[in-house]
Symmetry: C2
Subunit: 300 residues, 2 copies
């Protein structure tokens, strides 16, 4: 249903509905979706009911179909992963003491786009030092200094489908604490990859990373979201976490064809954050890792 | 009002409202704003009314305050304009027959970010050939060929404030028609700049470009939006066109401190589009042009 720049989209929709016939029919709309304002929704409801139709909340009826990907959708996600990997190499290559977040983000963005990357529903996250302890922080002109933890979280978006890739680095040798915690995050990721299979529940997969964090005394730092569904993306998000996430207590089973960005890790507020991620497919036999990038906490 | 990742934002808001006292009080919410879903809005309304409060639609009460900018806001828009100008130079410098939209967009993005640019509510629009005739089309890997019209529409965003800049080029000499129409668009922009002053209505300013298009027999191609307010930006837009636009029949007067991205031009569907823009401030004495970039249809 298209509409002109100054046309009322609800009036245009109602025009079509009246053409199709509303009286005695059921009309579903998504009450829990972005981009239909409450005013528009209520205007639609009132008009449908006045015309003798039954107006129902159809939230998630279509949205939840997105969670299982077709082969064509998977092909886009794979191409997006290649763009993210190339951009990650460019970002790491540009990172050194004395450079700025913006220079690194600029070099990374150029490579992301050259690799076929499109605009994502959230910006790439390129940050350094204490602000790495804030989820979703990004470039703000800060200069890299020795000892910094650096974060790179990149959305490789192709035909609006997103693959995510998150890595961390340090400027110079990491402290013993950072090195130890980085190894814990990597171990958690590897246990999560092993736990991914059709039939495992979201909560069970989350428990695989939780167990690693708790074993090493870092349970208090663990984020409660080990991953989120990825696929087609719209602002204000590049993921599909509103449809399905991998987190505490979620009893929904994983099914073949689901794709997730797995982001086990932590944000130690005011200090630094470490996440090592992969984008994966739930395959028939288990987990297929779509992204391909070394998991070490490299020194730059 | 902050809330945790898995917390219900409406429940969190209601908690605060109950603390402040709802009974007998009026609670306003924006029914016509993005990012509050109909479900959330109705949940809030029901709870406020059950607690003896009066729930009212407060749409535009705060939003319309945004249209007049403070000196601090203007400073961000000016810095954004510098970022857009640098990125425009990089984009034009990278444009030649045989290059691709993605290479140009990559070079442009790197420069935009190095100049302080942030993520905008819409992507930059870098396109070529027939797809320049589609508003809001952007890079898709196409290779530039001789004779192409090229479009560059860039958002220079600093501290979330946006300055826009739109230019067009051709690969090799423009055809006589393209050169003539480019001159018409430039003339329209110049008449619009002269028409901008406090007290002029939105519709009057639009008429300045309409008159030029009609004089040259291009009235049928003219877009009905000569400009839109710019300032703080959120997805799904980088402008504030929902608050104020410069277009046909709008009787609202321009006031000192308003800022607009002026985009007179046309999209000749299936062929090409030409827009030459400036971001401007409505100053006490008339129009102050914030962006500074040559207005010619350069050959690249």
């Amino acid at each position: 249903m298209g509409y002109e720049d100054r046309q009322d989209p609800v009036e245009a929709t109602l025009g079509l509905l009246h053409e199709l016939g509303v009286s005695g029919r059921m009309v579903g709309a998504e009450a829990d979706a972005w981009f239909v304002s409450p005013k528009r929704y209520l205007q639609l409801q009132q008009n449908v009911e006045q015309a003798g139709g039954r107006f129902v909340d159809a939230s998630r009826l279509i949205e939840e179909q997105r969670v299982i990907k077709s082969d064509e959708e998977l092909a886009h996600i794979r191409t997006g992963a290649r763009a993210a990997e190339g951009a990650m190499r460019a970002a790491i290559g540009a990172s050194r003491a004395g450079t700025t977040e913006n220079e690194v983000a600029g070099a990374m963005s150029a490579e992301l786009i050259r690799g076929g990357g499109e605009y994502a529903g959230l910006p790439p996250f390129i940050t350094s030092g204490p602000r790495t302890s804030l989820c979703h922080s990004t470039w703000a002109g800060r200069t890299y200094v020795a000892g910094d933890v650096l974060n790179y979280e990149l959305p490789g978006v192709v035909k609006r489908y997103c693959a995510g890739l998150y890595r961390c680095r340090t400027v110079g040798r990491p402290s013993d604490e950072v090195a130890r915690r980085g190894a814990i995050v990597r171990e958690a990721l590897e246990r999560v990859l092993e736990a991914i299979r059709p039939g495992a529940t979201s909560g069970e997969v989350h428990n695989a990373s939780k167990a690693v964090f708790q074993k090493h005394g870092l349970g208090h730092l663990l984020g409660h979201r080990t991953g989120y569904s990825v696929g087609i993306n719209y602002a204000p998000d590049w993921g599909e976490g509103q449809i399905m996430s991998i987190w505490d207590g979620d009893e929904r089973p994983l099914r073949t064809g689901m794709t997730f960005h797995l982001v086990p890790g932590f944000y130690d507020l005011g200090r630094y954050g470490i996440i090592i991620s992969e984008t994966v497919l739930v395959g028939r036999a288990g987990c297929e890792v779509i992204t391909n990038f070394p998991r070490e906490l490299f020194v730059v």
